[in-house]
Symmetry: none
Subunit: 203 residues, 4 copies
């Protein structure tokens, strides 16, 4: 026998905590239902607040969604970049990054949905948040590839191209796995992906 303990009618919390609650709920609901089908009321319920509160903290549904995506992107970025700097060898940095990238999506499968949704619904915005973040980090990664080249461990390709390739490869892998309904964790494939990247299929 469950007892309904209805949410207390009004509660006071610091605004920052409210925001987090709402963004967490939004990530869940947007990922599960898609941007259009997600009902703001449903998000409000999940977050344990009234609709009005959402509209006080976010301009509108679009702003709420973009904040949600941004938060997800921050989490991804933090997860990937966290312990990279402590690694000395650039190849190992790359291998670790791939692994942690895959690992993040294994743990947060909804995040792919958020990225898809963003692009699907906000075609007009300049550039998806994902690619903005990617660009921000580009310089750092480029330098790592250049170091690798200087060490003679990249031969035939320009660092620029290599960076793009790996970006496309892992990005494509995440989408493919998610969209094709693949069940195997991505992170299991990270070594194979890295090997391919470094050695190619002939190697």
């Amino acid at each position: 026998m469950t007892i309904n303990t209805p949410r207390p009618t009004r509660t006071h919390k610091p605004a920052e905590e409210r925001r987090r609650d709402i963004l967490d709920a939004a990530a869940l609901v947007f990922a599960a239902q898609g941007y259009r089908c997600a009902d703001v009321e449903c998000i409000a319920e999940h977050a344990g607040v009234g609709k009005g509160t959402i509209y006080r903290l976010f301009d509108n549904k679009e702003a709420l969604f973009l904040s949600t995506v941004e938060k997800a992107m921050e989490d991804l970025s933090a997860h990937v970049n966290e312990s990279i700097d402590e690694i000395e060898d650039p190849e190992q940095q790359i291998r670790t990054a791939i692994h942690r990238y895959f690992d993040f999506f294994d743990r947060n499968p909804g995040t792919v949905e958020l990225f898809i949704q963003e692009r699907a619904e906000f075609r007009n915005r300049e550039k998806p948040i994902y690619f903005i973040y990617q660009e921000n980090r580009r310089a750092v990664w480029l330098e790592r590839f250049e170091r690798l080249a200087r060490l003679g461990r990249i031969r035939s390709v320009s660092p620029e191209l290599a960076l793009d390739m790996i970006g496309n490869l892992v990005y494509g892998a995440v989408f493919s796995q998610r969209l094709s309904g693949g069940q195997r964790p991505l992170s299991e494939q990270s070594d194979a992906v890295a090997d391919l990247l470094f050695n190619g299929i002939k190697g």
Copy 2:
């Protein structure tokens, strides 16, 4: 004051031609506005028909959209596979396929949007049409990779994995280029991608 020169009167056409007109218009409008924002009336105008005609030939907006995606996928598949069989060398087959794959999206940039939209809006459907088609062709491509392995031109990776990798790579490349707003044609990169695939960045 502009004078609208409305579509003259009603014209009769064979059903097949009408379908094509409508699917062409739909591909345009869905790609430009997204599934949700695309107004069926707008598609009708583009196709030069009345709304009713669309609803006579397609059950509803969803069916129209999915037909549009399917048609795009057929076009892609035909474009890629067309002249592959005439090529003898399996490596060359793969290189050509990559090139033609990229080339298709250069010529039909809206197609990526359609694929994104499908996934974004119809999360419930088993599997996106793209992956259904991909699976259909899998056996054929697998055989080519196996031949390559038998010829000793693939060393370290299983044909299965190699196939997945290349799938992810090109798929990711198309998305990346489109989503990141890249302006350079994909097909220009096809050689570099193939080189990476075969030789890796170390090679």
Copy 3:
């Protein structure tokens, strides 16, 4: 194994026959689906003609429907009045009329639906066709009741009132039976109804 023998593409029939075919089909479909839900196309199919033909013979859906109701009313009127004049005794005339009235609706249950539909959908028209016909016959029936009164067989009520009462009684009975889902044939009750009418429940 049935062989589809599709309706020959075009046939020529005298207009009068066409009209009858269409009205028969219309009576069926309108009774089964109701005025609003009845699709003109469906009626055309039932009648074995094209939609255009219907619109050549009838101004519009409304006119078609009203013609259908009128035809039904003519049939009812004919069925009831047919052999009344050959009967000598006025009481027997009334008893026979009641019986034939009920009998008609037993045989043509859809007719009630048509009358209901007419009223439901064409509230604006002066008076339903049923009541127009009823009024036309009123003088004749009034005379019969007056003869009955002159013969001393109606005591306490005016012929006018008696006529109205019986009208209401049988009309109500038909509706009740139909609307309440009664399964017993109306005509079985005609004697009881007539007895009540003549003698009341005390008698």
Copy 4:
């Protein structure tokens, strides 16, 4: 040029009151325009609310309509049965019921329309609400007729039949008056109807 003085702003009312407002407006509009032609927006205006409010309180147009009919039926039932129990003599009970039945429809002429509409548009539903209510009350009324029979004041007919007859008679009378456009109040005829019922036209 008329100046619209639009409903001021939004007001808050208890749900029960809102429901009543809406049902009152719906009864008016459905009776005047018929189920199909009645625009929900029009009902909303009459009720002084927005369309959305109607859809918050009722699942859809159909549910709104059926609630309206049910409410009307409750009102009728209450009006008829109200003071019957205080009457001692069963014949007087019946006479009073007839009178109050007619009186109700004189005061609420639209109610007949609602009943017609219900049947016309929802032919699929098991049984119209009117007949469901009628059946509920049947046992009580049957008992009254049986008491009358025991008192020797009904001779020749079974109580069952007598009850059906009177039901048909008054039901038919209401329809007839309404449909034939009769202007005289029904309640003026109630004595004559009762006399006919008890004594017949011969008596």
